[in-house]
Amino acid sequence: MPISDPKSTPNTLTPQEMEVYVKQVLVPIIDDFTKNHKGKQFTADDVEAL
């Protein structure tokens, strides 16, 4: 019976890749969003639209 190792799934992103994603993709988008909202009140729709 073959032994399968669930950890070795090649399609799974590593925590390091996730951290890179947060820093390189998410943070710039959110920074842009907050810069465009400078001095304005945030609504739930604004946040949801992000």
Partner: protein
């Protein structure tokens, strides 16, 4: 891509499209994440989080608005079962907070440092300098 089709069919604003598109491109490596992302049953959670986030964003705190949003996004991801992205977001926020605290401590220490003036001590004032050729006279 199923997710892209869903996004195109719905009337999402351009900003949302951008975030979802990038998220999809980056994370499509992991099919479990794509399966979890943008499920219809996430809508009430998303609306709840958006309300909470808006309230938090409009109040002053130590965290910047971007940090609050990343933290909120991380919490949202965790709530909908995307624990890994959620953890990465929360880790990022923690790192930023720790960095800020360290900077605050360092600047606090720097401002409380006493200035020490180095001058002649009493004994140094009394003592006469030894001159060449006058020793023992």
């Amino acid at each position: 891509m199923i997710l892209l089709k869903i996004i195109k069919e719905s009337n999402l604003p351009q900003t949302m499209w951008k975030l979802y598109d990038k998220l999809n491109k980056t994370l499509s490596k992991d099919p479990r994440i794509v399966d979890n992302w943008n499920r219809l049953d996430q809508d009430p959670v998303r609306k709840d989080m958006a309300k909470q986030m808006a309230a938090e964003l409009n109040t002053e705190s130590k965290l910047s608005k971007s940090e609050k949003l990343i933290k909120g996004f991380g919490e949202f991801c965790k709530k909908i079962g995307l624990g890994k992205i959620g953890d990465a977001c929360l880790k990022y926020t923690q790192e930023v907070t720790l960095k800020k605290s360290a900077q605050e401590i360092a600047s606090g220490v720097a401002s409380t440092k006493m200035s020490v003036s180095v001058g002649d001590s009493e004994s140094a004032k009394i003592a006469k300098p030894i001159q060449k050729g006058v020793i023992g006279r």
